[in-house]
């Protein structure tokens, strides 16, 4: 499904990604873990086209995608969320969801005047879908609230809802449970599993909550200082020496040294 080969990316003198290779198989959930600043979000940004790689190749369903614009990568079927959730100040939760669907007729100016009824029809369908998703992520009551006013956890839920609405075949989820309240996390875990099992989606997610990782992931990839240091099932990873060491030294490292890399 997704194949990353010998990927390099540096910022100034800092090597954010160094010779990273891995595969994501269809209809699996792959976890991406590593201490802060290990290059997880950079990897997401390179895959989704927001950063341009220095070296290496990225294939999605057999096609090279690294030269494409972020929006075309998205349209090919790679949806993503952001570590710091994008939540427009002046758009309601519902508008956020309605923004997501692909191929909206009403995104062309001429159609606004030529096919208003088709637009209305499509909008009606999208609305129905949006209501369902809102219930799933428990934002139904907040649908008319400006997304900028949501709490951090709610914003995470919103981005999950938005990506469900967008409906890609590969979902890149950046810390989907951060800040979300514990009881809801359970529901989220179930929902994410359902995506794989019932809707045949492929998921790559960055997560700090090891419980969540071990519960849902088929495979885990560990990054440290931009390098892949381990890959395997959650159980294998938990016993991996290199990983333990990385986490121990990682926690000693100053927190928040580079929240973004």
């Amino acid at each position: 499904m997704l194949r990353v080969e010998n990927l390099y990316k540096s910022f100034g003198g800092i090597m954010a990604l160094c010779d990273v290779s891995f595969r994501v198989e269809p209809k699996t959930i792959t976890g991406l873990i590593g201490p802060n600043g290990s290059g997880k979000s950079t990897l997401f940004n390179v895959i989704s086209g927001f950063y341009k790689k220095d070296k290496g190749d990225i294939y999605f369903e057999g096609q090279k995608i690294e030269a494409l614009q972020p929006f075309s990568i998205a349209l090919m079927g790679i949806g993503r969320t952001f570590q710091i959730s994008e939540a427009p100040q002046k758009m309601t939760v519902m508008e956020n969801l309605l923004l997501a669907p692909k191929d909206q007729i009403g995104e062309k100016i001429v159609n606004v005047f030529l096919h208003p009824s088709k637009i209305r029809e499509q909008n009606e369908k999208d609305l129905q879908k949006a209501y369902e998703i809102l219930k799933l992520v428990q934002l139904h009551d907040l649908r008319n609230e400006y997304s900028g006013n949501l709490s951090g956890g709610q914003k995470k839920l919103l981005s999950l809802g938005r990506i469900l609405m967008f409906d890609p075949s590969l979902l890149l989820l950046d810390e989907p449970t951060a800040g979300v309240n514990p009881t809801l996390i359970k529901d989220l875990v179930i929902a994410i599993k359902k995506l794989r099992d019932e809707r045949e989606k492929t998921i790559l997610l960055v997560e700090h909550n090891m419980k969540v990782i071990s519960e849902i992931c088929d495979k885990v990839i560990v990054l440290n200082f931009g390098k892949k240091i381990a890959e395997g099932t959650p159980e294998e990873i938990q016993e991996n020496e290199a990983v333990l060491e990385a986490y121990l030294s990682g926690s000693a490292r100053q927190r928040g040294a580079n929240g973004n890399s």
């Binding site: 910022f11 100034g12 928040g256 580079n258 973004n260």
Partner: protein
Amino acid sequence: MSFTQIIINSIVRASELALLSLGLTIVYDILGFANFAHTEFAVVGVYLALFLNVSLGLGIVPAAIIASVLTGIIAIFIDRGVFKKMRSSGGIIVMVTSLGVAIALRNTVRAIWGASARNYSVALEKPIITPYFRITPLQIWIIVIGLAAMFLFHLLLHYTKLGKAMRAVSDDPELAQASGIATESIITYVWFIAIGFASVGGILIGMETYILPYMGFAIIVPVFCATIMGGIGNPYGAMLGALVLGFAENFGLYINFGQVLGIEKIFHISKGLFIPTGYKPAISFVILILVLLVRPRGILGKKKAG
């Protein structure tokens, strides 16, 4: 003669522009917005110097220094009153606000001092004549002050605590704040330095030419072009941009494009193919757009981390 003279003219112009674009670029770097009121602040300095010089009879040098310091302080006050309240707003909102500040400042100056052209009480200088070019002592001063400002700024940025803090804030404001750098006090210094430099630049232009309430608007566009061309937020880029613009403005009208492109003989253009003089104000705009087409972040543009 005229070729070397044009080089001198270009350098003088570049030095004036550099003094102004330097401040514009560091305000952008630290505060993250394009300040459309930048040259209007300079005009405030120019008129304060005029008041000190002509109305109070101070020498031009002390007048310039006092006026620049005062203008720097005024800038700090306006920052406290206006821009400080929008630190967390996006660059575009602050930029539009600065436009309002610019309009208000320009017209306040005009309401107080009137619209006519004024001059400092300085005598006409005798140019120094060499076989290759002529230059006035004031123009030498402009070049020297321009270079000195750049050098001082370089020292400031790399060898002082303030400079290091400024660079830290520029690279990552949140991290800088977290590691205990007092961002607000840095911002105060930045305003003072930026507007102080701008005021000096404005006063030098005023000494060399004339003083008008309108001059801030007349130079804002070239100053912006220089800053953006070099890569907004980068002080060295601002200097480079000023140099490019200084040369472009002066050589733009001088170059025979027919000859340069080798089409003079083909089309029998006996008079040569020059840019019509009426298009001179457009030269900087066209160069700006061309530069941005090739390098969307300017010549020395940098990408901010994060």
